[in-house]
């Protein structure tokens, strides 16, 4: 009996305690929930987000990994080894670049601060995703783990063609796939031999001044006057402001004078009566200077901003910002010069290629990228990089119009050397004057070509001091197109 009463007390105490404790339980659950979420985030970070942080060039921990990992290889999309680490019997490591100068700027170097893919994929190369038991065994034997390999989007045969096509001239060539943003070829000259750069370093640094240095990656860091390739932008602005652009006519007499400014057509050619499309195809400076005077400069500046002037362009390589400085206060001379791509406008070849890429891809710009995927030393994929959209730069109707105009350049204009090939080419030439000496100009071509089977490819070429785009840059582009479509 006594026992039972005691148990009654217990029972009631427990139940009142339970009621009293309802809020305690709520709080406990709340905190436990918070902790679980936090631990979940920690796991999520480790699995999905940590790569973004460890691969950051700011992360100085990277080189620590070299103490336990043999740096991986860099390969082209078609399986050629572009960089590898050779380990001698005594354990000393040498970074070897089988193709020497050919991939100098694309692949970069692994010393004196690193550049190119060696820099951007540094961490991938210094990490090992070898089977973990193997890693533990290596760790215990005090042996280094084999690092992951980086497979690029670079196409060896295209790079070779571009490299040879540019020859001994200085300049840049970039080729990319407009539908994915894959960088297929990346040539910048002058270049260097990455195999001997450590030994050559002092010479390289002392002999050349900043801008002309062989270390400048001209594709994304070289700023050039765009010359007539800029007429793409002038045309776009004119089309936007004038829905009846098809009605435009101009009678070219070989030059145009407004106030004290006189603009000549290239080689003083007289183009006669022409509409907008023909002005574009013949690259008529007089007609475009005339158009420039009709444009709303504020709106023009806005268009250039949306086409990535004066801002960081999407680029995996270090890049310079292109500049467009025309505004409502600019004078007549500046306006006319700017409309034909002279004046103070400066662009990088990569930027020109991206604009062309957006046009070829119906207005949508894909972010350029050069690392396709990484895999462990046995070829098991570690991380795949997917194409991603940067944004819509033009509406598709504008893009289609520009495609038509650029095709006309090839069929009936300055790009005729590309006419009648196995592929359909389109583009715009340019001859950008860069000094006060008449006739000294950089030769430009930016364009794209496609076939049903092989899709499309954008190629942008600049030859420093090369002369006319139509006779110098177009044939170089043709060699690249040929290599892509005819092999």
């Amino acid at each position: 009996m006594k026992k039972q009463s005691k148990s009654t007390e217990r029972k009631s105490k427990t139940s009142t305690n339970k009621n009293k404790n309802r809020e305690f339980v709520t709080i406990t659950y709340m905190f436990v929930g918070m902790f679980i979420l936090m631990m979940g985030y920690f796991a999520y970070f480790q699995v999905f987000k940590s790569e973004d942080f460890i691969n950051s060039p700011y992360n100085t921990r990277q080189d620590k990994f070299g103490e336990h990992v043999i740096r991986g290889s860099i390969l082209s999309a078609d399986g050629k080894t572009l960089a590898e680490t050779i380990v001698d019997d005594d354990g000393s490591e040498t970074r070897y670049y089988p193709y020497g100068n050919m991939f100098a700027h694309a692949v970069g170097y692994d010393c004196n601060g690193k550049s190119g893919i060696e820099s951007m994929a540094n961490f991938n190369l210094l990490r090992s995703h070898a089977f973990f038991l193997e890693q533990i065994v290596n760790g215990l034997k005090d042996e280094k783990n084999p690092g992951d390999n980086v497979i690029t989007t670079l196409n060896y045969s295209l790079q070779e063609a571009a490299y040879n096509a540019l020859g001994d001239d200085n300049g840049a060539i970039v080729a990319l796939d407009p539908t994915t943003g894959k960088i297929l070829a990346w040539v910048s000259k002058p270049d260097f031999n990455p195999n001997t750069i450590a030994a050559d370093w002092n010479d390289i640094v002392s002999q050349t001044d900043g801008e002309n240095s062989v270390l400048v990656n001209r594709v994304s860091q070289g700023l050039y006057p765009p010359g007539s390739t800029f007429k793409i932008l002038t045309t776009l602005e004119y089309i936007r402001e004038n829905p009846n652009y098809a009605d435009y006519t101009y009678d070219c007499k070989g030059s145009i004078t407004e106030g004290e400014t006189e603009i000549h057509c290239y080689d003083n050619s007289v183009h006669g009566t022409e509409d907008l499309k023909k002005s574009f195809a013949k690259s008529c400076n007089s007609s475009y200077a005339n158009i420039g005077l009709m444009l709303d400069k504020t709106s023009f500046a806005k268009l250039c901003d949306t086409l990535l002037f004066n801002k960081a362009i999407p680029s995996v390589y270090p890049s310079q910002k292109s500049s467009f400085v025309l505004n409502e206060n600019s004078d007549t001379s500046a306006t006319m010069q700017t409309a034909i791509g002279q004046g103070q406008t400066l662009v990088t070849p990569l930027h020109m290629a991206l604009i062309t890429s957006a046009i070829a891809n119906d207005g949508v710009l894909m972010k350029p990228y050069v690392i396709d995927h990484t895999e462990n030393y046995k070829g098991i994929s570690v991380k795949e990089y997917q194409p991603s959209t940067y944004g819509t730069l033009l509406d598709s109707k504008e893009a289609k119009t520009m495609q038509e105009f650029m095709s006309y350049v090839v069929s009936d204009g300055t790009g005729s050397k590309l006419n009648g090939q196995s592929y359909q080419a389109a583009g715009k030439t340019g001859s950008a004057e860069y000094s006060n000496v008449k006739g000294e100009s950089h030769a430009w071509f930016t364009g794209y070509a496609s076939t049903k089977e092989k899709g499309s490819i954008v190629v942008t070429v600049i030859v420093e001091g090369g002369g006319a785009g139509s006779s110098v840059a177009v044939p170089i582009a043709k060699q690249v197109f040929d290599a892509y479509f005819n092999n």
Partner: protein, 470 residues
């Protein structure tokens, strides 16, 4: 050889700590006998010393510093004395809380030794003094009864001290946190938070009438406002949350809790727009890499450390944790994650959660509403500080610059946390006395079914029944 030991130890320490953490929760099982429980606690102690030894072997091999051996042995003596003191004088205290306290301090000392031996030695000196001071607290708590009658003393003390810091304190990292007396830098808010919990508990022990709620809320708000003015955001948040939780539990009124949280959110948004130091923290949290050169530097470095360490860590002395600004205090979790590994770091969080659960467990088991609230308030402060510190380090929430209790470097933080742990142990002693007291009042409710209730009081926490152990 060194590399081999470092590599092996890395995995060994993860396994040992995972086992330790498992035991933290295994002892909570429903039908566990006291005998089995005791065995598990002894196993924990074994794991603890094994991790400690393992870490110091690695540290010694990579530095070859003879002083480390002496330092290690002193620590072993210290922790053994702490363990013995508790088992001799306070055999009714929670063994799990004692073990976790020692484990967390050991991890703290290991990481601090790796980061800077000088700081570790200082921390160890503080640990000795703090332990000596706090050893009496469980006894005092279980014997003295007047703590509940001092509500106004607590309020005055808290406000005066906080006001003094706001007015006279030294500005460090943009916040007024501390002042220096006789060469010792003290961070009063670390101690005031304990006084604050006692204040709120005493007030609501008296009454939970509306007028009492208004009075208490006014004083609590004053605390939070002074802290916000001193730019001590982390502490302001901890005080705020602790108060809201205590208010909710004391009044059983979820409305207070929700409206309080809403006010808190509005105040945070206002703070964002009004104070640049709040904006800076949020910006750094949103995209640390984009702001690497400025406000994002600290959190970026923390994430470099955590990411580079990965699940298994770089191994002690193999990473670069000293690249993280403030690594010894606010970002010690990142250093642990980098060198000891993500798994180890997760276990560390779980051990902290285990402590939190033990705090809430005693809160639920006490019958006296004053002590229930004290345990709840201290548990909330501890738990929320873990959340702020770890969450900030891993970019789960914006960083508020809060230390990780018992692990981070810092005298005030260590002493105040040891006081909290000691108070909790005092409550475990008290509970034992409550159990043995004859029940004076007759139960009002009549039983429905007799004889089926288990002898032990049990409380449900997170799906498992938690027992009164020991």
């Amino acid at each position: 050889m060194v590399h081999l030991v470092t590599e092996l130890s890395k995995y060994l320490m993860i396994i040992l700590f995972a086992l330790y953490t498992y035991q933290c929760f295994a002892v909570l099982k429903r039908n566990i006998t006291p005998e089995k429980q005791r065995r598990k606690f002894h196993q924990q102690i074994f794991y603890m010393y094994a991790i400690h030894l393992n870490a110091y072997v690695v540290l010694y091999l990579s530095t070859k510093s003879k002083e480390l051996i002496v330092f290690y042995l002193m620590q072993v003596v210290y922790f053994t004395i702490v363990q013995l003191c508790y088992s001799i004088f306070y055999d009714r205290a929670s063994r799990l809380v004692v073990n976790n306290m020692c484990m967390l301090m050991m991890i703290g000392l290991i990481v601090l030794t790796r980061l800077s031996v000088d700081f570790a030695v200082k921390q160890f000196q503080i640990a000795i003094i703090s332990m000596a001071v706090t050893m009496l607290i469980p006894f005092l708590i279980s014997r003295l009864k007047f703590f509940r009658n001092l509500s106004m003393v607590y309020a005055l003390l808290g406000i005066t001290l906080l006001g003094a810091v706001a007015a006279l304190g030294v500005v460090s990292h943009g916040a007024k946190l501390s002042f220096t007396v006789a060469g010792i830098t003290i961070q009063p808010s670390e101690f005031i938070k304990i006084i604050f919990v006692f204040f709120v508990a005493a007030m609501y022990h008296e009454s939970t009438e509306f007028i009492q709620v208004v009075k208490t809320t006014a004083v609590a708000a004053l605390h939070v406002i002074i802290l916000a003015i001193s730019k001590d955001l982390g502490a302001a948040l901890i005080f705020f949350i602790a108060y809201m939780v205590m208010l909710y539990v004391a009044t059983h009124n979820i409305g207070y809790f929700l409206s309080g949280l809403l006010c808190g959110c509005l105040a945070s948004v206002a703070g964002y727009f009004m104070f640049s130091h709040v904006r800076v923290r949020v910006l750094a949290w949103q995209d640390p890499l984009a702001r690497f050169e400025n406000e994002g530097n600290q959190i970026s470095n923390s994430l470099f450390a955590i990411g580079t360490g990965g699940w298994f860590g770089m191994g002690l002395n193999q990473g670069m944790p000293n690249k993280i600004p403030e690594v010894k205090q606010d970002f010690i979790f990142s250093a642990i994650s980098e060198e000891l590994g993500g798994i180890f770091a997760l276990c560390l969080i779980l051990v902290c959660v285990s402590c939190f659960l033990m705090f809430l467990n005693i809160a639920m088991q006490m019958k006296d509403s004053f002590y229930k609230l004290v345990a709840l308030g201290l548990g909330t402060i501890y738990g929320f500080q873990i959340f702020l510190s770890v969450g900030g380090d891993i970019k789960f929430i914006p960083s508020t610059g809060v230390t990780l209790p018992l692990v981070s470097y810092g005298g005030s933080s260590l002493l105040s946390t040891l006081i909290i742990f000691a108070i909790i142990q005092g409550l475990y002693l008290l509970r034992e006395r409550e159990e043995n007291e004859p029940v004076k009042k007759k139960p009002k409710k009549k039983k429905k079914k007799g004889g089926r209730v288990s002898h032990e009081e049990t409380v449900k926490i997170h799906g498992t029944k938690v027992q009164n152990f020991d």
